[in-house]
Symmetry: D2
Subunit: 342 residues, 4 copies
Amino acid sequence: MYSFKNDYSEGAHPRILNALMESNFEQEDGYGEDRYTSEAIKLIKEKLERTDVDIHLLAGGTQTNLTAISAFLRPHEAAMAASTGHILGHETGAIEATGHKIISIDTKDGKLNPSHLQAVLDGHPDEHMVKPKLVYISNSTEIGTIYKKNELAALKDFCDENNLILFMDGARLGSALCSSENDLQLSDLPALVDAFYIGGTKNGALIGEALVICRDSLKEDFRYHIKQKGGLLAKGRLLGIQFLELFRDNLFFDLAGHANRMADLLKVELSGANIQFLTDSPSNQIFPILPNTVISELEKKYAFHIWEKVDSDQSGIRLVASWATKEDKVAAFIDDLKKALT
Amino acid sequence: MYSFKNDYSEGAHPRILNALMESNFEQEDGYGEDRYTSEAIKLIKEKLERTDVDIHLLAGGTQTNLTAISAFLRPHEAAMAASTGHILGHETGAIEATGHKIISIDTKDGKLNPSHLQAVLDGHPDEHMVKPKLVYISNSTEIGTIYKKNELAALKDFCDENNLILFMDGARLGSALCSSENDLQLSDLPALVDAFYIGGTKNGALIGEALVICRDSLKEDFRYHIKQKGGLLAKGRLLGIQFLELFRDNLFFDLAGHANRMADLLKVELSGANIQFLTDSPSNQIFPILPNTVISELEKKYAFHIWEKVDSDQSGIRLVASWATKEDKVAAFIDDLKKALT
Amino acid sequence: MYSFKNDYSEGAHPRILNALMESNFEQEDGYGEDRYTSEAIKLIKEKLERTDVDIHLLAGGTQTNLTAISAFLRPHEAAMAASTGHILGHETGAIEATGHKIISIDTKDGKLNPSHLQAVLDGHPDEHMVKPKLVYISNSTEIGTIYKKNELAALKDFCDENNLILFMDGARLGSALCSSENDLQLSDLPALVDAFYIGGTKNGALIGEALVICRDSLKEDFRYHIKQKGGLLAKGRLLGIQFLELFRDNLFFDLAGHANRMADLLKVELSGANIQFLTDSPSNQIFPILPNTVISELEKKYAFHIWEKVDSDQSGIRLVASWATKEDKVAAFIDDLKKALT
Amino acid sequence: MYSFKNDYSEGAHPRILNALMESNFEQEDGYGEDRYTSEAIKLIKEKLERTDVDIHLLAGGTQTNLTAISAFLRPHEAAMAASTGHILGHETGAIEATGHKIISIDTKDGKLNPSHLQAVLDGHPDEHMVKPKLVYISNSTEIGTIYKKNELAALKDFCDENNLILFMDGARLGSALCSSENDLQLSDLPALVDAFYIGGTKNGALIGEALVICRDSLKEDFRYHIKQKGGLLAKGRLLGIQFLELFRDNLFFDLAGHANRMADLLKVELSGANIQFLTDSPSNQIFPILPNTVISELEKKYAFHIWEKVDSDQSGIRLVASWATKEDKVAAFIDDLKKALT
């Protein structure tokens, strides 16, 4: 059984484990005040070409989303998100548990644009409703699509004009930035969003997301929020060492690039076999539509998620490639698929 | 500079890192549904000699405290804790952030007893005040003391009679159970408390606390709470592998035993030098009272916390020994202390 | 200018003010422990033909909704409501502010049925999502429709089978029960819902909603929740005296009946003039669709809400009749409307 | 049985009920947007000699406290209060339920001063603890004492220097301002605190507190918070009409003055009989210490609270006089007390 279920099935890239080994007996201060965390943050700032951002290392995506969003909003303010957004459907009401409504927006492709936001603002005119304030986007999105630079810029302009906060969930940012269709640089982001994070967990780390706060008014006292929400690890070095390794050279991008290439291999072959897709995804997740009989056949040897029923005979499945996905397994999958299709 | 500041200055016990290495490329399901987590839970249940408890692996102490306490209480119910309790003074209002008051109880030794609780109940007669419901204790406590079996039994009886929940923070449970003054077995605990956790972070793991829910009515839907509070790690294997290693044999207790022995070495020598202590601590934290001049001298070579001012000339400091504390460093510290005292 | 904007434009029925006058200098205990509140509760229980329900008097609808729903749910549990539900769009995120997501359900007529609920349950299979638990319905609904007895019974059966809580917002319950299409008795309700409230504010009281908790497991400690959420009035007599007056005889129903008759007068005449309606409403709120030119003309003499744009030339408006609506004003409105239409 | 239990045993001053009667059938907009509320706010601003404050009318004290404090604080910030403060012991954890810790400060007389606050700040140095931010004081306090102008000024200076928010609970502000020992004017307050409220419920209204927000940064969007917390009454006129009547002339102060005079009568006679008091209270609440036998005798004819046990033979009781307390009942109480003492 080989798994294409997600991008967190394996442990960590070996260089990360080695770095943990090598540093293991050094004594470091706790709670993110260790030398490795400082160096990792310094390095990421260099990659961002910015010294005026605040960076915090957190353990996971839900933790980062709930900590940031609850820190950024006042009690009567709400987040807005595409209905496919991770905070809406896969975080067990974590944002609402901090007191904030999320306004759900239906989209074609999992991406928000200014007209979506304008419609929400128009529908929330007064104090009998929540005040829409934070725009939550994911890049890449939960259905594999990515934001182009001009799309982000349009969102940012709209947010600035309407005093909204633009927050980007980057759990799969590596895959987005390494997509063949991408035109964004990591260093573009601080000018294009108010805060975002760089996902480590789904790109080769054991755990870890690097939250980058770009807008000054959102920075104050942020470590209090991390601690209060249970996210300040005693051995913060665990996060620092990993991000230091990921960004010491090009490892972060190499890993994401590998994942995308493996997904592309699958996509090209599937397309060649006239398979349709639920979404046009240029990142490490693809969503082919297959006959149920083929799916059953594949399930004997491969693990993946059945995403949604398309009709009585076909379903869309999700195939996820990761930094650790093996090319020979991809080839084997393609072979098995072709056999099943005939 | 050698640090006695805390028990989380180093990484993890090498066996844990090796286990991470060896399992690294195995594909596992996420969110704690991996094989290692299952095995670790099975193993801990065996050590507890109980199959009827629920066990969940979480990342850290504050996360575990806030998740458990908010899951266990209804909105109008409050926790009670010794004023030295970790949730009162060192978790940034994490419990209150979930909506619950903590009633602070002054104690001599950081430990609660039934008369403390009775006084709280007497002072909370009606619906104009919160309803005291959960008793939070730590073992070992934040000031190094430990609970004896009969003390826990008395608390449990009181809680049962008054329909209270007894919850034990075991961030340093290893040290408590390996104390020379301890008369508790790990397997005694399920009968003596309603829920508790076994701390890994402060006893040789990178991260990890194993929460044991003993009382049936507290078990339902607990994974929802972990996920909602941001504590369900995508790579749950990271927790499972570590606890499996700690409890595969006697490693957990060996590490705690080492920490206690190092603290005992310090205590014996300090006592021998007629040093007094803030508390009578039989665990891995000790709190000697030293002349400020001596403290200044020691600070040149050692890191530790100054706990509290005693008078204009003396302060109490905290020395913490851990699984990684080196015996030669302890000896060196004692030598340096003796020199400074003369 | 005469207002059909809502059913809370005037003060209270004169009998209520008289009752306040007459009792004014009697000394009573505070916080709902006065004689009037006790008598009012006893009287409502008689009307309900049940002694085994708990009744609490609260000040307003949002207060009642947020207090009850947050008391009834555990942290990971969510409410479900029609997208038109008051808690979704007109209470400023009050429920989310207590930590709970509301799952929005699109409906034709503002009413929920078991198939709506089944679809929600199907879409929430595990701990990565909230657990749907409480079904919020309004009777009459926010768009004037009402529940028939068999519809409520079907919902209750579904809720019982799926361990859900059925909660009815009765801010306009009087109007629903006095509708010409209604087949429910007030005394039917305790068997058909787990909790509901009888709205006073929109039916002749200054303030006041009587919450009836029918299900035993929801009753415990409820006064704590009222107090914690700021709803326990020091002069609880203000609520007791009003509900005593409303239920001392048939006043509650007389007032609601008057409101419905005034709405019916409007509806009959509007229908006779071939006016269409946004919804088929048999209660005290009606939603006729009028040409925008006619609306502009009417706005010179009457106040009402423009509910929604229908097309470029027409809009739906909301006309609300209340216990205090004057028949001659209704007649005048109809005259003015007819003139405007010609 | 005559009650000295509290200052909310009776209804409202007759002028208030008359005003409700006279305005009853006027149609007004809901949610505090009525003409009466506007006029009341205008009038209070005139009394405050300030046009640059925001005023909101809310139903009760707990509601006002929880709405204001949760609106003013960010998630990691805490309130500070005297241990006798109403929010600490008599509001069922209402503040904590909005996510904020209250730091309890022991005092002699229920009043805070800068040295209390400095000690709290000193004890909260970093992000492992909450950030102390809002100073909650009551005037008069829960034990009858009042703040002098220089005391308030010293607190305000300290708060300004330390970027703290000074919030005054004025549930019994009338009694404080009309105390014989008072040197504050109502119009002094906007310069001396950041926000405060003028209590109506305990000074002759049915319900109602007028919250005055003086500091600009606390004003934004406040109506959202009121609505979200369930405090925006549909018939906001009920609050407007009452405050208009209380401040139309000197009624508010006349009522408070009467209450104080009745308390003074009691105090003078009790002092004359060599009775000691728990606190030196110059307002409408006094706390005489009486033999338990005398208390038992008095309880046959009078209702009051036994505040605390003093020794095995004596207890402190609380006697509260109000706008409605009758002088002949005070005289009768004194007679009965003297008899009981002999």
